[in-house]
Symmetry: none
Subunit: 222 residues, 4 copies
DNA sequence: GATGAATGAGTTTTCATTCAT
DNA sequence: GATGAATGAAAACTCATTCAT
């Protein structure tokens, strides 16, 4: 065959496969996995039901393929952003902005991503959740890398675990993304990016903030 | 009978109802709503299937009752904590700690709570999500109240919207709670409470931190 | 005890039994046997479900008791009317009128009566249909008797089988009763009694009987 | 494919649909709608339960399809008979005979027809009863038309409302059809057709029409 | 006698999956 | 390869009946 190129057959195959995945994504994210019959996916994708089973062994495989494709998009986009060479602060800000863009562009996708990353509604067999978590974790590590470099470059205070900082920044942005979701007019995320940076950085940036008040801990009431 | 107390009948009724809810909670959080047949709940709760339908009109009502009971616990506990009179900083810290306790005590419950608050897997009809969101929002407002008082008392910098700060703190803690969930040994949440306070407060607390670097924004790439 | 009288207990018992039957009649005739749960009868009759089973061994027995009570009412009322001593023509006219009154007074009852006399929807076990048919047949024979007497008295032409004539008159009236049911304003049954007599009698009456007799209508007893 | 004909697929579809309807008719008329589980229809029709639901959305739709098919047969056959050009008296007699034939040919169908037209046992939703009534009413109007023409042609006395006469004749025949149903040996309906005509016509026919015409019977077309 | 909570067999309906065309 | 009619296991839900109080 053509070396390293796909035959027409193969290209068609992939196109069809992606068409099915697109329809499935939309439906799953709108109604949830269990509320979408294969019949509906087939009809909406304009394939016969039997054809779907040519592409995916069963409903769960279709689902897995879908979620993995999503994870890859997320992973790829966010990772790329962090690899664009620039100032650490810029990287982080751009990371936050890119998450916002991903949200805006892929709302259905997002719901699914979070549901399956966090939730327990659908017990994904065979470690799909593990794969997702891992993909997410890789992004976090990439983010931690930025903090680490920043510390080495003395931009950031090196007291804290970079990975923990990554988790903090990521979850802070999640909070405002969901706020955006719920109250889009009142709390547009793009405007919150600065806020997040504000909240996050004064402490981490080197400065002479009196720490006494902040960290005094009384015994926990369990 | 007992004045202003429940009759034995009523007490039995409530006990049975709660037994069913407990079993359902366990099963739903383990396997997800759609993967738990009513028959299984019935069997595990040691009631006949028909009896379940005496207590809850249908499966969805059972589910709603369950989630609402959970939401109430959350709402009540977190609200109470914020009402204990004390220093604003203490209130916030205690809030974070209490969330941790709730997580630890009600893990199955949590998964369900987050799945249904955030996710889209199971489209809850008739505004259950609205109720949940509202309940969550009330806690956030209560939290915002603390920030507001702190601002009035000049402890906190009053530049920011208190509600937004509440969202920020809450989501930051969520991030570390989930981290705890995933890597309990490496990242125990209780120890992260200080970290959260650290990250969160240097900026908000009045101080003479140079802000220039933080907030410089380049044009957003939409 | 009071001889030949019922004790209070017994009177109460019968009163309750009839209350249940009344409620059941209404519900069955409105919705049909299979669409009325025992629970509903119990609630509407203001008895506990268990109490119903004290009165009737099971749902079918309740149903049978009901239908038999109806049949008796029908049978008794129509038979009585035919026994009031008078002219044959008067008897027949009064029979037709009485059927109309029974219809007007007991519409739900009627539907049930006809359904179970004619229909096949609910396979009544143990010959309830036979009993009903028989009861109906007895009325028809009583009616036939009138024709027979009239023939003997030379008022009616004796060519035809009196029983067949009874069937004819009865079914003719049924037709107009149903017409009344469907179009009460346009086709009130009471006004159709003469019509029925008209249609029915010119042939059967001996040619020399004055037609005046046929159509003379006495004031209707509403 | 075959021009203006059905494809094999379509023909198979209709054949299967009719097979299901036939089985359902038999079972419903034998035991009544509520006493026939879908499973039984499926098994007797030699289809899987799911297949039934491909043809009919639910049990009630299956039932409706069935009753409507019956009503159409009735409507079509009786209407056709009344359109065969001939003497009014012949038309009416042939109408009565045809009803007898329909009864004889479709006894199970009949029971169902009458049960659901008249009874209240099964509360047919969404105007099936209205459709049935209307279909029946159309036949009655067609029959009334015959009376009207006969009046114009001075064969019938024009004193009465033709529609009312139609109702009368129809219900009279119903009475004898049911008599036949109950006592087939003693009271065969075909022999009653003359009786019905006898009863019905002496009054309606103008006095000067030779009575001979009334009872002359041509050979029945079975 | 009266009660009504509890029962569970039986019903309708859905939907993932197969396979002959 | 593609099709979609057919399958039937499994789920939600109903309701006649029982029985401990």
């Amino acid at each position: 065959m053509q070396n390293n190129t796909l035959t027409r057959r193969q290209r068609e195959y992939l196109r069809h496969r992606n068409e099915i995945l697109d329809v499935a994504l939309r439906l799953f994210s709108e109604k949830g996995y269990h509320n979408v019959p294969m019949q509906e996916i087939a009809k909406k994708a304009e394939f016969a039901i039997g054809t779907l089973y040519k592409f995916f062994e069963n409903k769960e495989e279709l689902y897995k393929a879908l979620v993995l494709r999503l994870a890859e998009t997320f992973h790829h986009t966010l990772t790329s952003v962090l690899e664009i060479p620039s100032d650490e602060m810029d990287k982080l800000r751009r990371f936050l902005q890119t998450k916002g863009d991903l949200f805006a562009d892929n709302l259905p996708m997002i719901r699914l991503y979070f549901t399956e990353t966090r939730g327990a509604t659908f017990n994904i067999k065979a470690g799909l959740d593990t794969q997702l978590r891992q993909s997410h974790d890789e992004v976090l590590h990439k983010l931690a890398e930025v903090f680490k470099t920043g510390m080495r470059r003395k931009i950031f205070n090196s007291a804290a675990d970079p990975y923990v900082l990554a988790v903090g920044l990521d979850s802070l942005s999640n909070g405002f993304l969901f706020l955006w979701l719920e109250k889009p007019k009142e709390h547009p995320y793009p405007e919150k990016v600065d806020m997040i940076m504000d909240i996050f950085f004064s402490q981490i940036l080197r400065a002479d903030v009196p720490k006494a008040k902040i960290s005094s801990v009384e015994p926990k009431s369990t």
